[in-house]
Amino acid sequence: MSTAVLDTPREEKTEIVKNWKNPTILSVIAVISLILLGFRAPAKQVTFRLGDGIRWADIPNLQIPAVAYGWVAAVVMIALALFSLVLMNRGKKMPLILNVVFWFFFISGILVWAIGSASSSNVSLVSILSGALALSIPMIFGSMGGLLCERSGVVNIAIEGQLLFGAFSAVLVGSMTDSPWAGLLAAMIGGVLVSLILATFSIKYLVDQTIVGVVVNVLVSGLTGFFFTRILQANPAELNSAPKLPGFEIPVLSQIPVVGPVLFNQSVLIYLMYIVVGLIWFALNKSKWGLRTRAVGEHPKAADTLGVNVNRLRFSNVLMAGAVAGMGGAFFTLVSVSTFNADMTSGQGYIALAALIFGRWKPLGALMASLLFGFSLQMQFVLSGLGTTIPTELLAMLPYVVTILAVAGLVGRSRGPAASGKPYIKG
């Protein structure tokens, strides 16, 4: 019998499927870059200071002629875009590394061009990057909070509310007790309280998760706004001036040029962030809890038939997510500034959600995506600080434009946890 070998799936030859979206995007960006970075390059030297924070050596500055660099970047990008078109015509995708090269030249090209176009063209690379890292903190914590929820099957639109309430609780308790640590703890509890509303309504009472999330955000915004004007502003010295979380330098590591001062000379909240991301990555991929969480987010009934209590696990994960997102909220009032302001999170919870999707629901992916958004936020401040010719209103849009481009344009259809957003009803 030559046929009917059923156990081995027959090797399927797959057909070539041409998807022109990415090559087209690359081509358009390359052409725009050619016009902007090449033809309209500012005839200036851009100076990046690399030595900040390094004590053991004198590191020379990086001098880049904007015109030459613009042309190099534009030519490389055009070449890569053409290459991707050729590859796609044969039904192949461009290797990831070349994509990374493309985006590196794009971002660095824009950076050089923008700084070159500003009135002052001498900047510290260390302060740009460490600022970008700091600004990413709420989004990183927020996206980790979203991840804990979504991987177990609960959509978390309420990240914004968790950040905001975390920020509020942190400043209130921090000011009252005069201890930033108490403030941090309060931020976590604040986040948990917001999560409690989300979890109770979406898991226990099966209300649509997206709607509960949005309603919770509006509630938190209204509530904190009310308390801010009525209570905090009445006594700002006592209630709205929290001590900052301390920062410290990690010996040796902080003396690595550029990278050291950026990563290892920071606020304690940033070191906590490293730990939280690492822990979540490990727990999700390597622990029993992680296996169950992923199962509950993909196929809750399968988990149930194996004796996993689906709704209890979801409930506890949503609460944990609140604690994590709440820590992100503490950034606003314990690291960035010392005072609370109405709606001071300005939509970063939503960007965190976008980062989660852009990062394909993976801890490290979400981390990278948050860093990208943090970088675009930082660019807005750097460029307006340097006195650029670009209108500030346009610059203020930058993080959001990057978000839309990233999520809509580059990710395309990404596959989230299959059961996300669907309440689990037994039986």
């Binding site: 059923l6 027959r10 797959t14 169950r292 038939t305 194996l306 299959a418 039986g427």
Partner: protein, 533 residues
């Protein structure tokens, strides 16, 4: 281990799904629970597995009464279940799926190595050939099912419940499963086998309990004839064959030429499909679910815009037309999943009867619906198609599966058709409605319309077909005459061409291995049912 049910009753509100069921499964035997769809088999199994709590009665294991508060209690007591819809996380590996719920750990981290070892042991013992690191969604259905069995065995199950395990398998995969069940039985496990397929039931069972409408209606010996079993199961003498004359074909044709379709990930779903259906004949499309049949019907009705090739209805080219234009060209279509594609559950019966006709002159004036015409149409259809309804304005979702299906069929058959395409026309439908729907399909054929029926149930294929087309991995393996033996079709469903299948049937006498060819006489049973819903 001996499993016994005593007077188990399960009620949902007023509805009694199981009415004092008594059942004993002895160790080392296969006990079959036989019953139609909706007879309460799955409910009973969920009670045994701890997913539902019985309203009355008790479950005994080795003569000790037990109560289960959840599946984990049942598992700890040694009961394992292979669910009808696999309880596997598609994106997990086999090892992860098996470990879930009873994970081995090393410190805080997961210890999958132990699970892998156990899987290999069981896999070797029973010849399962399952790779612990394969991702489940990439595995063929038959292997996924073995993963389910491994899941139960890893947890030291002594009683195994198999809920309609053969519904998704090819005939020879089914035979392999029956072989595995036999091996498990010889190892002293107690097996509770749920099925409505008489051939398999007779091939493997030691004892048979027949249930109907939630009640035990009798016990039977596996040697009892199929007719007797069928009568017990359905409760009346059933007509085993659809009365139909020889097909009288005419010159009307529906011609499919070079029909191809590629999924977004590059996997071909249809590969250069060519066939012609003549007016006055039924072409039945057979094959295991997921081999391109769904895509074929969707391409015909215009729901697969990326399909290429030609679909010629008489002189009209359907390819490239919108679904509405295709419907207007005289194509009647019964989709395979009536609850999502065939009906709007919350709409009334009358409204569902005009879902694709609402903008025709008879049912609308300018921008408004002609309510009285719609109402009259509903009265006529309900009468003509014997749709059992409370009131025509009730929501369609309140009806039974059979009556819902009759709405879909009635809607499509009240137009003058040039082509009728029906996908799984009787899935999850009671026997009475099956007979009725089959008669209407044959009547449509006798009007001279070309008819295409897609069914994964060979029995239905045999009942209706004038010719049988078999699909495998998107490829048309050949068109066989209606009297082709089951074994040959089984070979074709596993990837042999008609000629190859015939040749191997001639030379090797025991082709379909064992059970598949034993019961040729049962080919005409109309148990065309898929899954419980």
């Amino acid at each position: 281990m001996k499993l016994e049910l005593r007077g188990v009753t399960k009620k949902f509100g007023d509805f009694t799904a199981n009415d004092s069921i008594d059942l004993v499964v002895e160790p080392g035997t296969v006990h079959t629970l036989l019953g139609e769809n909706g007879a309460g088999k799955s409910t009973l199994m969920n009670v045994v597995y701890g997913l539902y709590e019985p309203t009355e009665g008790e479950i005994l294991i080795d003569d000790q009464p037990v109560t289960f508060n959840g599946p984990s209690d049942a598992m700890n007591a040694g009961i394992g279940m292979v669910h009808q819809h696999f309880m596997l996380v598609p994106v997990f590996t086999v090892a992860e799926n098996v470990a879930l719920g009873s994970e081995a750990t090393k410190g805080v981290s997961l210890d999958l190595a132990t699970t892998r070892k156990k899987i290999r042991e069981i896999s070797d013992q029973y010849g399962f050939e399952v790779d612990p690191d394969a991702v489940v969604e990439d595995l063929p259905v038959g292997v996924q099912q073995r993963v389910e069995i491994i899941k139960a065995l890893v947890r030291d199950a002594e009683v195994l419940i198999l809920d309609e395990p053969t519904a998704v398998l090819t005939p020879s995969e089914t035979d392999q499963l029956l072989g595995i069940m036999d091996q498990l039985r010889q190892d002293g496990k107690s097996l509770l086998f749920i099925s409505h397929k008489l051939r398999e039931v007779r091939a493997i069972s030691n004892d048979i309990t027949v249930i109907r409408r939630g009640k035990v209606v009798g016990k039977a010996d596996p040697t009892v004839s199929t007719n007797e079993l069928a009568t017990m199961m359905v409760g009346k003498n059933v007509q085993l064959v659809v009365d139909k004359e020889e097909a009288h074909t005419n010159s009307d044709t529906f011609e499919v030429k070079d029909l191809s379709l590629v999924a977004p990930n590059g996997v071909p779903l249809l590969k250069n499909v060519n066939f012609t259906v003549h007016g006055g004949e039924i072409l039945a499309v057979a094959g295991v679910q997921g081999n391109g049949q769904t895509e074929l019907t969707e391409a015909i009705i215009g729901l697969q815009p990326k399909a290429t090739g030609s679909l010629k209805l008489g002189e009209t080219e359907l390819m490239g037309k919108s679904t509405k234009q295709i419907l207007r060209a005289g194509v009647g279509f019964v989709p395979e999943d009536r609850s999502t594609d065939g009906l709007v559950g919350s709409f009334s019966i009358s409204e569902n009867l005009i879902l694709d006709l609402f903008d025709r002159k008879e049912f609308s004036r300018a921008a408004t619906l002609n309510r009285s015409a719609i109402s009259k149409n509903a009265d006529r259809a309900i009468e003509e198609f014997d749709i059992r309804v409370g009131h025509k304005n009730d929501a369609a979702a309140t009806l039974s599966g059979g009556n819902q299906q009759k709405i879909v069929v009635a809607r499509e058959l009240t137009r003058d058709l040039k082509l009728f395409v029906a996908s799984q026309p009787t899935r999850g439908v009671d026997v009475g409605s099956i007979e009725f729907i089959h008669k209407r399909i044959v009547a449509e054929r006798d009007k001279g319309v070309p008819v295409i029926i897609v069914s994964t149930e060979l029995d239905e294929v045999y009942a209706l077909a004038d010719r049988i087309a078999v699909f495998f991995h998107g490829e048309l393996m050949g068109i066989a005459p209606a009297d082709t033996p089951r074994g040959v079709l089984g070979q074709m469903m596993a990837g042999a061409t008609y000629e190859e299948a015939l040749a191997s049937a001639d030379f090797g006498s025991d082709v379909g291995t064992g059970a598949a060819t034993v019961e040729q006489s049962e080919n005409n049973l109309p148990w065309a049912e898929g899954e419980n819903r």
